[in-house]
Each structure stands twice: as structure tokens, then as C-alpha cells.
Symmetry: C2
Subunit: 699 residues, 2 copies
Amino acid sequence: MNAVARKPKLWRFFFLLEKQMMFFPILILLINQASKMNAEDGAMEELATEKEAEESHRQDSVNLLTFILLLTLTILTIWLFKHRRVRFLHETGLAMIYGLLVGVILRYGIPATSYHNKTPPSCSLKEGPVSTLLLNVSGKFFEYTLKGEINSREIHNVEQNDMLRKVTFDPEVFFNILLPPIIFHAGYSLKKRHFFRNLGSIITYAFLGTAISCFVIGNLMYGVVKLMQFVGQLTDKFYYTDCLFFGAIISATDPVTVLAIFNELHADVDLYALLFGESVMNDAVAIVLSSSIMAYQPAGANTHTFDTAAFFKSVGVFLGIFSGSFAMGAVTGVVTALVTKFTKLHCFPLLETALFFLMSWSTFLLAEACGFTGVVAVLFCGITQAHYTYNNLSEESTTRTKQLFEVLHFLAENFIFSYMGLALFTFQNHIFSPIFIIGAFLAIFIGRASNIYPLSFLLNLGRRHKIGGNFQHMMMFAGLRGAMAFALAIRDTATYARQMMFTTTLLIVFFTVWVFGGGTTPMLSWLHIRVGVDPDQDLQQCGDNFLVLQGDGTVPDGSKTRQESAWLFRLWYTFDHNYLKPLLTHSGPPLTSTLPACCGPLARCLTSPQAYENHEQLRDNDSDLILNDGDLTLTYGDTAITSNGASSSGGDAAGGSDGGRGVNGKRSGSTSEEALEREMDQEFLSRGTRLVFPIEDHA
Amino acid sequence: MNAVARKPKLWRFFFLLEKQMMFFPILILLINQASKMNAEDGAMEELATEKEAEESHRQDSVNLLTFILLLTLTILTIWLFKHRRVRFLHETGLAMIYGLLVGVILRYGIPATSYHNKTPPSCSLKEGPVSTLLLNVSGKFFEYTLKGEINSREIHNVEQNDMLRKVTFDPEVFFNILLPPIIFHAGYSLKKRHFFRNLGSIITYAFLGTAISCFVIGNLMYGVVKLMQFVGQLTDKFYYTDCLFFGAIISATDPVTVLAIFNELHADVDLYALLFGESVMNDAVAIVLSSSIMAYQPAGANTHTFDTAAFFKSVGVFLGIFSGSFAMGAVTGVVTALVTKFTKLHCFPLLETALFFLMSWSTFLLAEACGFTGVVAVLFCGITQAHYTYNNLSEESTTRTKQLFEVLHFLAENFIFSYMGLALFTFQNHIFSPIFIIGAFLAIFIGRASNIYPLSFLLNLGRRHKIGGNFQHMMMFAGLRGAMAFALAIRDTATYARQMMFTTTLLIVFFTVWVFGGGTTPMLSWLHIRVGVDPDQDLQQCGDNFLVLQGDGTVPDGSKTRQESAWLFRLWYTFDHNYLKPLLTHSGPPLTSTLPACCGPLARCLTSPQAYENHEQLRDNDSDLILNDGDLTLTYGDTAITSNGASSSGGDAAGGSDGGRGVNGKRSGSTSEEALEREMDQEFLSRGTRLVFPIEDHA
């Protein structure tokens, strides 16, 4: 992990470059003024600084108010659009437009005045820059901290660009404050069933596809860079690794707009699962890929030559960071599950929610503290929490946690997008290079195409339920770039190459979100992709034979076909169902029946009383996992049995009358994907232990 | 408002004094290192700083992890205590104990090592400290920002106290990040009915009482200070205004522990309302009072003499800040109400919640930007939101917003209390002065006594339902000091006097929370205060005559008695019921019936369709407002009419079957105060328009 240590700028929470403002649920203003907790200056001096500080604080409040009002305006316009069913512009696109407008106003509308218009005093030192500097003013010592280097031409307007600098966030804010809730929410709200059904394809697209896309884009861009050097348009260094880095950051797709429209129109669930899964996973891949490429960079003095050792080191770094982050996320998820299982915390939903929140957050910190990637850890933590902890939470906490993260996610996402709009005009080091920009637009299409089409072809060889041509075109089309590409690009804008990348990324995000996002609805109809699909009907259409998992978790022979990574997957499923679920949650078969007899006492003490009650009749919802693309064969009977043993017809169960923990017949729409919103609230209906008899039992 | 500008340290969000960490919902680490977005240093230099920064970031993550684990531990222990019904130690007391333990470990357990153990380089300037300093290192310029003055004895261990400094938050974090959600929650979860019933008494205790307490404590402490000077124990200046300031900060009571126990035991509702209302309001009063005292301070060169002009200026500042902040809060609340009323935002609960959150937050910023007190504005915003906006929210949003702020409140409160524990050992400028501490303990008791007993006597002259002796003793006993006193004290610890105050405040908080908080249950039984009270029964016991409000909001004569500020109150109520409620919410009588005929067209366009539907049968829940202490005479019939006109028996209505917006008979417990938690979820049952006929109508 030493190589990780060299990722430039990767591990910084420094908010000191600009007069920072930070927005997340409660706002933080950071002003580069002195806090004088221990100061004992003269009263006059203090009063002067006092006034200045107060003025500065007030200004910051005003700036932030601007942001809040921007978001408020966005929300109101979103409502208007939703109300009038406008689909050509998604809320994120809208947030960007508002951001752009405010950016223009800040840039050109407000005269660049500053309250004291002088060059700050300077002093000289022989040594290099140090983080802490002492200033001796007639015997009194003052501590100063390094803010950064400034160009000699900028010295005279250090104070003048204040307004623009004030609205510039530290890049790390995006990484450490705004992305975690977005990513956690993605993991936590994952529609397990369709996700796992397409897991093989998703992983292929996310890992192999992102790597292909990264290298294709990287190489194409290297060609573009060579062309620029040839034409004489490139004034500074631009290495091959820079191109690869660009390939990595721009490979992170974010089809938030597309998925929102899918949700609204009830487009095909498998396509939805593929797109959602790919975009969630490839964010993680892109983060780790970009760090690995940076780890590669300093290995050789001449970065143009291919260094095998450095390459394998990078691969090692990739695997190390990825698996480390994955492990961190999974471990905290499991710990939370254990804590919620073995305490009766669910009697106090507030405590439970707070614990859930803190544990999920500590994943991020733990990963950062260990040198892994917090954001990636948070993604897998979210998935683990949804898979295990969720089953142990009280009814109230399930909705509470969902809603809490939903609000955080919503605010963070819209904030990022409106900030993107703002950044186009307020970021002060843009480098617009037409050749590079045109080259990048071409490269991302070629990169996306060489990800989707070849991999789909390969996957179709193994899939029963083929990924059709129209699906492939739609996936190609849905390769929008969004928050993650932006956050990765803004993370480091120190060099000429990075500044050019940042500018280009910003333009790509604008273009894809507006044009592709807006074109989703026409594209869907043009490609003849089914809309208005009821995910349950969808299942029934595909076959009437059914697959039921025995109480001990084994799958009856005869009804299974070739699956994506079938044996590994079934192995994992069986292990999860027989040991992990019962160990970590209140659901699943009792451990006493799945563990060997010698472990009896241990098993008894680890099994929760609920598990015994449910035994025999138990049929875990996750049996859906076993279903693969070709086998949409699951049917349920009409009779549902509530967990307390009372029998009711499927129609009655639809209301979820026993408070969401109940048992729903197949037709009650328990896994309906009608709307993400409704899903959020309903998802608890489809979790938990389901006690559904196959129809034959009653025939 | 110019005087406000001189409040020292009052308006700072500077997080730069220490290696700051910030905790709120998502955590922010602030490290005093350079961010080098635009830096183009040599690679070696960069790598070195890189490593250092990374190390520093990792350390910060570990520190924060400590905080998170501390909170997690607290939550688990709270659960254990609740589970075992332990009442001698409340969660806040527990959080303090854990904080203390970690403080001891940080202070004594970890050797003060640092990764580079040298005195930082220094340079000299003739001018005073400037906020921005340039450093010229062989032609390159680096920008530095002022961190603060340091003592010459501390120069050599600038880096050594890192660990302790890292866990030291900027005081403004408490004020600007942690307090707002706590205060907003207090306002938003206010139990309107009992609060308004005792409004007169609450305002008397909060305004007059806090002022009395402040001056009594201030004068007593001035005596103590004189004594210390006489004995020779005081080594530095300690002005009369310092004493008054101490009186102001220590007058803010925070009976969170007591109220939690009241809730659990269902203690007397009127006592609860008095205590809750007083503590909420006197926080606001204490904040503004302390700013006003600071505004007084620099008026005369000799602060010992009484300066009439300065005194009145302070009073003016007090009134200005208070009314300004009040207006800000009310205005944003009203704007939110209007927006939620006139858009169909309630179809999209997520948007609605986000809007609600942003608008409430913008109150804080707006007040800060205008030079008022954000925290006070947020309190009144919370009350306004609860009174108006709440009625317009969708069912989902009502729970969502409640729960969101409940979680934020819980986390913030526990964080503050555990930080208090930590601060006892990690704050580095404690001044323990036994005389001052003993004097302060005596002063706060005398101050509390001269607040409660004389005012209760005066209030009892005007109240029918007297505040009994046991109630008075309980209020005396419940004068715990908590988060607000701490936040006000830590805000400025620059001078000797302030450091001594901070230390003393900390000790007072510990003592009162542990001893008085723990003694609540025995005290309740010793004072023979009723527990296990059903608030509805409570009402019925008091009389059988009833008071019903006509549809037009006038109160029938004959059943009313002397009220606290009766005419003003009734005037306000009538205005609120007839004009504000119908204008701002979907409830209340249609404006067309309350406004004069000439305003017809305007009234029609401002009245929501729901209001017409409800007209004739309308009986607003807020008629409870009219009830004063002496007249607990409200009874309802057994028959409730749901808003769509269907009639059902009171017993049936109890389930709130029509989704919380329905109508509940009196006995259905719609205003039950059994538990704060349940109230949160249930409160929407008691809001909205109630259509209850008095029993006579059916007899």
C-alpha cells in the first residue's frame, strides 16, 4: 500500500485554498481569517480584525444564501416540470442551467471590488515553503499556515478575486462530503432482485468494460495530444499517463437522468438493472482505476515507455485498494448487522437510526484511515446494510434510514450539478482546447462503443435471456457523465494537462446530460423498448414452471440452467442463505439446522428466536438470487401466510396490513418498480422473510 | 445595529485555529496544511508535503473515528439503560462520562510525539498581524493565512500539542453547526397546546426571569471577584461586565434530562410545558442578552461606572436583535407555508422535504447575513413551520421532516455533551479558581431562586390554576445547565476572565446534569408531583363545562375568565385563525367568509379548495389556545366527524384510520403526551382541522 501514498492530492481535506464554503446538511463557512481563541492583542487591533471578520462572515452568509436559493429555485422548477410531465430536461440538467446563470452573474455581473485593495506584505525565507510560519511583530508571535503558491501576476489581486474564489469549493468537499451519501444511497437502495439476476453482466460491464473504455479513450487521447503537439497547440507537458487518467475519470458513467426517466415510464426492468448496476459499480472502478494510474505515474523517469513492473504494481494497487475498500465496507455492514441483531435496539428507532448512520459513516473514516477509498467502502457498506442490517431494523427505522439517505442524496446530487454549472464560469484556470475537446467527444463515444458492443456479444454467448440490439444501443446512449467524472476531474487541477481535462470533462458532462438526458424518451420509443412494464407481469410472462428453494437452502435439480458464473454464485448463495443470513439477521433458517451438529451450542446461542418460529415454512426472498436471466420462472401462489401463522388471501395481503413486515402474495406487487419513490417506501415489504407457498401446495 | 458589529468573536466561522474537525451529518476534517490546487512546485517538494498531508489526513480520520465510536458506544449504553429502565443517568450524562474518559486517555495516555519536532521558521515584520502574508522563497511566492497569536512559551511545541489541538473544535462549530438543529427541533416539536396554554407564564420566566437571574448572578459574582481580589487570588482583570456576561451565559437552562424523565414517567403536563417552554425561550434570551452585554462593554473607558446611555443602548440592541431574529424566523416560515400551499409540491414528498429543509436553513443564513442571531431565528422559524407549514405538508413529509430533525437533534446533542466531557481534559487554558467556582455554584442557586419564587408568586396572583409550591421547587431543581451555556462560554475564551468562566461553566454543567438530572425521579416523588398522568384525563378532571369556538373564531361569552394577557392574546388568536391560517395553510375558515366583502376576488383566489369543503363544520384545533391555565374546561363529544363528512364514533377515530389527517374524538388521545417519541409521530393526528362537535349538540 505504499504506492497508494503517492497519489497526488488524493488524501486531502484541505479547505484552506479558497474562502471555502461547504454545504452539507448544515452549512459550513470557512474563511481564511484568524481565529484568535488564545489571542490577547490590543483592543484596537482586535476590533479592526473583528470588523473585517464580521464583514467577511456576512458576505459568506450571503454567498451561501445564494446557493440555497439556487437549490430552492431548482426544487420549485423540478416540481413544475414533474407537474407538467416535462421530460426533456431532468432536474440535474436544470440545476446545471441555474448554476450557469449564477456563474455568469458572479463572473460578469458583480464588479470585482474588495474591501482592502492592497498587496499583502511579504517576507523572505531561504528554505522551501513550510506548513507553519511564525511572524514576529514587535515581540509578539503569530502563527501562519500555508495556503498555496500564487503566481507573481496574481499577487496584486490576491484579495480582488475574492468573490469568485469564495464560491469555489475545495475539490475534496465533493469527494468527502457530497459523494458518500450519494454512493451510499445507491448501494442501500439497490433493487437486489434485478441487480443480482444480472450480476454477472453488471460486473463484466463495470470492471472489464470500464478498463476497456479507459484504455481506448486513453490511447485515442494520446493520439489527439500528439496531433496537438504536431499542430503546435500544446504548450505544456501532457504525458501518456495523463491520457490514461483522463480515460479513467471520463469512464465513470452516471445515468441518473436516464434512470429517472426509466422509473417514470416503467421501462424494461432488466435494462434498468443493467444500467443502474453498471453505473454504480463503475464509479467505484473509476475511482480506484484513477488512483492506480496515478500510482503508476512516478515509477519511471520517462513515463512514455511501458514499464512492466510499474504496470503490475498499478494492477496490484488496483486490486489492493478495491478489495481493501470492499472489505472495509462489508465489515462495518456486518458489525452493524450483528449489533442490531443482538441488542433489542429496535425498540428505540431513534437510537437505531443514529447507530445505523454513525456506523455507515465510520466505514468512510475507517477506509480513509487505512488508506483505502472511503467512497468505494461506503458503496459496499450500503449494499451490506441493505442485505443484512435492513432485516433487523424496526419498521420505523427502515423507512427512516431510507428517507434520511434519500434526502441527503437528493440535496448532494443537485448541489453538485448546480455547482458544475457555476464552475464553468467561476473556475479561473479553464483551458479550452478545441482539438482536445472534439477529440475527447469522439473518444468517449468510441470508448463506450468498445465497452458495450463487444462485451454484450460475449455476454450473449452465455446468457439465455439475450441482451438485444436495442438494449445495447440504449446502454450506449445512456452513457452520461455526471457527478463522479466531475469530482474526479476537479480533484486535481494543478497542472496544465489536468486543467485541460477538467474543462473538457465539464463540457462533456453538460453535453451528455442535456442532449442524451433529454433524448431518453424519444430514444426509448425509437428503439422500441417496452415502457409501462409491470415487473411482476414481466416475470409471469416468461414461464409458469417455478423454482422453489427448500427450507435448507438447496435448489431442486432440473429447473436450473446455465448461469453467469453459476457455480460460484450458487456456492455463495447457499453460504449466504445458510450461514450468513441466519448469523447476521433475524431471517433465514436457524443455524441449528444448517451448522453441523458439533457446533450445536454455538448455533443455538447465535440463532434468534424469530428464526425458529419461521423454520419449516421458511422461504427466503433471496431465492430470487438463484434466478438467472434465462429463467424468469418464478411464480408464487395466491395464498400468503403472515408470519404469525394466520392465512390470508393474496389480495388482502397487498395492503401490507401487518405493517410492512408481513408476507405478500406475488401479485401484491411487493417488488414493484413502479417508481423509485414508491419503491423506497415499499421495499420493506419485499424484504424480510417471506412465507409463500408455491401454488401447487394448495392445488 | 452598529453596536452589534462590536460583539467580539461573535461572527466567526473560522475553523483554522486548530486542526479542526467538524461533525455534522457528514464530517469535515480541516487540516491546516496547504491545498495546492494551483501550485506547480518541484516534484520532490510536492511529494514531501504530499506525504505529510496524507499522514495528517489519516490521523484526522482516526481522531474522528474515535468520536464516532464514542457516540456509538453512547448509543449502545443508552439502549442498555433504557432497556433496564435505569433513570439515574441520562444519555447526556452518559455521553459526558464517555467524553471524560476519552479526554483522560488523550491527555495522559498518548505520549505527545509529533512527526517533525522542530520550531517553525519565523520572520519579522514591523506592522501588526495581517490576515494574508506572502512568503518569498527564491522568487516563488506563497500565500499564508493568520492562524492566531501564540505565546512565546508555546512556540517550541506548536507541533507537539497536535493531538490535543486536533480534538479541539472551533467554538463556532457549536454555534453554527450543532445548535441550529437542536433549537429548530425544539421549536418544531413544541407541543403547541400546552405551550400556548402557559404562554404568559413561560414568557415571564424566560424574559423577566432570565434577566433577573442574569443580574443577580452577575452582581453576586462581582462580589466574589472583589473577594478574590481582596484575598489576592485574582491575577488579571475581571470587569463588572464580565460578571454580567457570566450571569447571562449561565442563565440558559437546558432541562433535557429532566424533560426526558418527565416524558417517560408521564409527569404533570403543565409542569412539563412550563419547563420546556422556559428552557427553549430562555436559550434565545440568553444568547441575545450576552450579545447585548458585550455591546455594552466597550462603551465607557471605565467599565465599572454605570453608563446610562450605554445601558439603554444595550437594551436597544437586545430588543433589536431579538425582534429582528424573531421576524426573520417568522418570515421564512411564512414564505415556506405560502410556497407549500400554492404549489402542489405535496405530490412529491422528497421535493417537499428538501424545500422545507433548505428554507429552514436559509433562515439561519438570512439572519446571520443581516447581523441578527441565526439560532434565535431558527427557533421561531421552527415554531412558525410547525404552526403553519406543517398543515400543508403531505403526510409523508410530516413524518419525514420530524424524523430528519429528530435524528439531527439527537446526534448534535449527544455530540455536544460528549465533547463537553472531552473538553475538561483537552482544553488547554483551564483556570480552576476554587473561590470563583464555589461562588458561582451559590450564585446560580440564588439566581434561579430569585427567578422562580418571586415570579411564581406574581404569576399566581393572575393565574386561576396556581403554580403550586411543589411545582416551584421542581422548577428550581430542574434548572440544569447544558449545551447552550457551554456553547456561549466556549465562544470566547481569549481573556483570563473568560477562561475562568469557561472552566466554571463546564463544572456547573457536569454537576447539574449528573446530580440534578439523576435526582429527578426521587425529587418527583418527594415533591408529590403526579406521574402517570394521561393528559386527556387531566383535562376532564378539571371541569365539565366546555368552551367551544364558533366557526368564525369568536369565543362565546360566559365561559372565559381572566387570562394572562388576555385581550392581546385573543386578538392575536382571532387574527391568526381568521386570516393567517386560511391564508397560509389549507385549514381554517375560507378567507371569503372572514375578509370584508370588498376583498372578495382576492379572498377567493387565496383560499384553497379544501377550506371551502371544511367550512360550516369547521372547528380549529387551535381553539385550545384560548384556554388558559385556570380554565381546563374543554370537553369534546364522543362523536367525531371525518373531514369528508362521514360520521364515526370516537372510538373508531382513535386509530387515525384516514391517515393522520383525520379527525379524532377527544378520548382518542390525539394530544396525548405519553412519550415525546410517540408524540413526534402522532402529532400530525392533532394538527390539521378538527371537526368535533361539543357533546351538547348531540344530546
